[in-house]
């Protein structure tokens, strides 16, 4: 895998569970650093985790194809569906479409059950060949 976690991800305590073929799962444990209102996860922390998971999924797909690209996020849309509680939080991305110029990546965030996401994100990324 050709990506390393940036300082922001390291500071939040984000860990990558590498997966052979599929997109990796990223997670962090609950702490004051990621809390919003008392006892609950901050939406921005969920969003940050999902964005990292989306980029990791895209990088995994580009690596699989043997392509080296520069990634430039265009936008992200996040839907919050459940409150995040004081436990480990996971996120993983799915590359819906990666063409030559643009990639669309979906990510979901869950705690107990991947089938019951607490938030979803859709990230659009501009791709350009790396010099």
């Amino acid at each position: 895998m050709s990506y390393a976690l940036p300082p922001y991800a390291a500071a939040l305590g984000i860990t990558i569970e590498p997966a052979e073929a599929d997109a990796p799962v990223l997670w962090f444990d609950y702490s004051d650093r990621v809390s919003g209102r008392p006892g609950f996860l901050h939406g921005g922390a969920m969003s940050g985790l999902m964005e990292m998971a989306a980029i990791a999924a895209l990088q995994t797909e580009l690596d699989r194809r043997g392509e080296t690209m520069r990634l430039k996020p265009v936008n992200v849309a996040v839907e919050f569906m459940r409150g995040g509680t004081q436990q480990r939080t996971f996120a993983s991305g799915t590359v819906t479409r990666a063409g030559r110029r643009v990639a669309l990546v979906n990510a979901s965030c869950w705690q107990d059950d991947p089938a019951k996401p607490i938030a979803l994100a859709q990230l659009k990324v501009l791709l350009s060949p790396a010099e």
Binding site: P6, Y8, A11, L12, R37, G43, G44, E51, V76, F80
Partner: protein
């Protein structure tokens, strides 16, 4: 739903309490995610709130360039826009962020403080509609635009 961002119990306030973003920020930015990010009060009007996010090594998303990660910018805008709702409503109403969309105009310049301007442009009984921009020095050259909705979780906005 992220029950937005209030690390203290505002429900216990007196009935004639008018929400003051400058005072609330002092309490809200002491703890939790906003406190860790270093988010601070900047300015406000009748329907808008500005919060500041100083650049810091730990918040960098691209190690080679020093560009801030987008997670902190989403958090900044979530906080600024949620406070703009209470500012327009003139009181604290428990709410959850339903959705947030961020368009990135360009990367933030390393070392610069980000100012997040959040505005509530419409309140209905249950839903607050918000928009905002983030800039790194020049409000006319924003780094991001945001739009989104909040929902009143206990009680109504109107």
């Amino acid at each position: 739903m992220t029950r937005a961002d209030t690390p203290f119990n505002l429900q216990d306030l007196p009935a004639d309490f008018v929400f003051d973003p400058a005072r609330a920020s002092k309490m809200m930015t002491r703890h939790g995610h906003g406190g860790w990010l270093g988010i601070a009060y900047h300015d406000h009007g009748s329907d808008w709130v500005e919060l500041a996010l100083p650049w810091r090594d730990e918040l960098v998303g691209v190690a080679e360039t020093g560009v801030l990660a987008s997670g902190p910018i989403i958090s900044l805008m979530d906080n600024a826009t949620s406070m703009s709702v209470w500012t327009l409503a003139r009181r604290f109403i428990p709410q959850a962020t339903l959705d947030l969309r961020v368009d990135y105009m360009r990367a933030a310049q390393p070392g610069m403080t980000i100012v997040g301007h959040g505005e509530c442009y419409k309140l209905t009984r249950s839903i607050a509609f918000i928009r905002g921009t983030a800039h790194d020095g020049d409000p006319d050259d924003p780094i991001a635009h945001v739009t989104g909705t909040f929902m009143a979780t206990h009680g109504t906005y109107l």
